[in-house]
Symmetry: D2
Subunit: 270 residues, 4 copies
């Protein structure tokens, strides 16, 4: 398919998942298995999950497998797993995010790789998608934390306030789509509180991913085809069957001639 | 004195103090006043004290005043202020320290300066001074976290296990002496639990600092002169009268022709 | 004045202040001095401030001086000092508050006193004053945590949603007024963000307290007299000059023949 | 067997397990399943694991099933899961433990049951078993925190320093034995770092429990029979197969005519 792909069709796509979301004795999801599936690892930075030992371990495995490391920055909220929008002074939020980026960068570097992108987690992802001041705080933090001499791209929802604000600041914005979330006709995600918000049928998830890789957009819940162009597909890692589903997605993409590759390549180990 | 200083005499010395040791609403010491006195700021990294907003503020003021920023890495122990030697797997300690170095580096860079050295805090300072495996963990963490392409020097006690281990790993070790702590004839600090451990007489503290700047060593409690060569003098910032004492020390050194300057110059702001 | 007080006039009033708001090495306010002024101590429970050692120390001093101990329950938010309204499932909030009540009760009991009331702190105070579901969570928590066989009263803002909801659940509600906060003509506090929100003139603060003790209500910013009946006056303990101001208030009240006494007497030590 | 049990033989025994050891989004072990097996629940108190919502949930289920609630008090060490012996001032440790006892008591009471015993967790269990000052801190905390008018018994290792110290303070000490841990001939547990420390053979675990219920002691690794009399058997809940093993133990005990019952009955719900 790669050779015969018509003009405009992707022949490669990135798969990303949230990783390193344990803390101390607690684990969440199967990091090792997912690192065999994805090409980009959104590594928890210690604020919603992820202690330094876990971050180091994920970074080492990612480095070993050529998976790119990103910092999944979050509100400081271990007890709430970063899922609560915390009222914060924007300048404090900027500092919190900068701190997390630096922390994960140092561990990534020590693991023989580096940090290549930033993705907000949970409530920060959702709030930055709609709130100008939160989006601006995320963008300012990334803009003031160049890594290896370059500003990091932000992985986020296409069409979001964060995507617009970050672009306006000169940051590279990488669009992602969700493998297993239902979309409304307006391009927004169906809220998790509504029935059908999460797609459980593996065949439907695989079909979604094949369309995305082909650049054919997303079919919304009412059949509308959304012209979403996503450079990365987000797989959920902490749901039952996540690993099996991820393996199916990857296998189907590869069978269709799609190359799974990070949107921001990891540095070659010295 | 600078012009007429005999061969081997210092004409410049560094003053360092622990800064950024508040947390949230709580403060400790007068960061702003101390940043007008010292040439090197040991910035708390969030593990014993120091939240990202505090770190950012200290780094900005330090950048503005030409004070060099160092990372004062610690055991993860907010409730104990990093004063307890925590039993830890050395590899976990390495990750904890690397995380802290990266976090403060990112905030220092965002503040227009950078990170120029590492100093262990509290129990980590004391344990790394005597325990081979802890010292090795500190040295490994610093060795795996080059900043701006160079390994950071470690500010520590001359003659300590950490000094030896870090040197053996190829790290630069910078020796410090304490302005207001009594020394035993063997070169060790008199434990705080003993009477006279802390020198409260300003004249004695100033005399100590003048001797150190002149390269004349330290007078121990029994009168023995210890041939300590220290490139930096540690001022305590959280004791009553700390600021006044620091001002006296600085004024006396300058009056004696000694230049107060960081052992590792801060980068020039672009 | 006590003997000649006209019908309806108070001859006694309670003074309360927030205490135990340090954490580990950090302190906030002068607990010891304030325990010589107030009759009721709102003891931080560890969620916004206050570690068990601090709580124990405050309870012991309170027991020694006959000061009544209350639990100042809060959102779990050390970094934000409980000043942020956190989005929470109400049932989680109920559990958080119950936990705090039990924790302080055990330390109060161990100190030879007991726990006699609950007061929400910071954002929880403000939110419970206006939000039905948060107020209900506070009331449910108190209602499910009887101490020594009796339900604890809630110290709160008269006219607030919490006051209404708690009363409806059969809880005793004790009204408090603020010694140094400006009131709007509608009985609400002037927000801190507005000029004049805090009264800094000691004479005005003393006059406010004398009126409250006499049952003469509060003079709002526009001169309106609010018919507030408060059984307790809240003194702020963490502002500069707080202790001196508190001493002036207490002295003026006593000089006017008002007895300073807890609204809920502490148990007699066995 | 119950009817024909020779003089001195138990016909009832308690089964205990550590429960409520999740935190926020993280879980550990299967609380619900274990609450169908054990008669006593060692509930984490929030210092090594267990947030108030989790504690409340475990207490409610325990109340519903007639399982007795105990407080599994710990060092304050979420990141280390309470498995590290932390250097602490004993008086601080006393306050920490008292705080935890009160917190769990309040939630247990709110759940319609109460708190009936205390068991130290992890490093505190091990340290209190051998260190006089730590054992004394645990005993003092329990002695100063009577619940419902009575001092709580301490569940601990027979022959330990804690058992001796607590008895000397007039506390009831309840001895426990481990279902799946190898014992040395001197009655101590084989350290986990040694091979064979944990018994994985279900038949051997069941045989151990049947002996304990019959008062026949424990067979040590070298065949020595230790005359341990244990009123409670500790089942591990966080190991793979823990639930199945617990079900086998319970079934085998019941088949042998042994009644599984708490050593300290839960209060009858009003």
């Amino acid at each position: 398919m790669a050779a015969s792909a018509p003009y405009g069709r992707r022949v490669r796509i990135d798969l990303n998942a949230d990783l390193g979301e344990g803390f101390g004795v607690w684990s969440l999801g199967d990091d090792d298995a997912l690192l065999g599936i994805v090409s980009s690892a959104n590594v928890a930075c210690g604020f919603h999950a992820g202690d330094p030992s876990i971050i180091a371990r994920v970074c080492r495995t990612a480095a070993h497998r050529g998976v790119t490391v990103g910092a999944q920055v979050s509100y400081r909220d271990l007890i709430g797993f970063g899922r609560r929008a915390l009222p914060m002074d924007p300048s404090d939020l900027v500092s919190d995010i900068t701190y997390q980026i630096g922390a994960v960068w140092a561990l990534a570097q020590a693991a023989g790789t580096s940090l290549r992108y930033v993705k907000p987690h949970g409530a920060l992802y959702n709030t930055a998608a709609v709130d100008e001041s939160v989006a601006d705080a995320v963008a300012r933090a990334v803009a003031q934390a160049p890594i290896d001499g370059a500003l990091l791209p932000i992985l986020c929802l296409p069409g979001s306030v964060l995507a617009r604000v970050a672009s306006a600041r000169g940051l590279i914005v990488v669009a992602e789509a969700f493998a297993d979330r239902a979309y409304s006709p307006d391009g927004m995600l169906v809220p998790r509180s509504e029935p059908g918000a999460v797609i459980h049928d593996p065949a439907a998830v695989v079909a979604r991913c094949l369309r995305l890789a082909a650049g054919d957009g997303i079919v919304a819940v009412d059949g509308t085809v959304l012209s979403v162009q996503a450079a990365s597909i987000c797989l959920h890692g902490d749901t039952p069957g996540a690993v099996q589903l991820g393996e199916q997605v990857r296998a189907a993409l590869e069978a269709a001639g799609v190359t799974i590759a990070p949107f921001a390549p990891a540095p070659v180990r010295g």
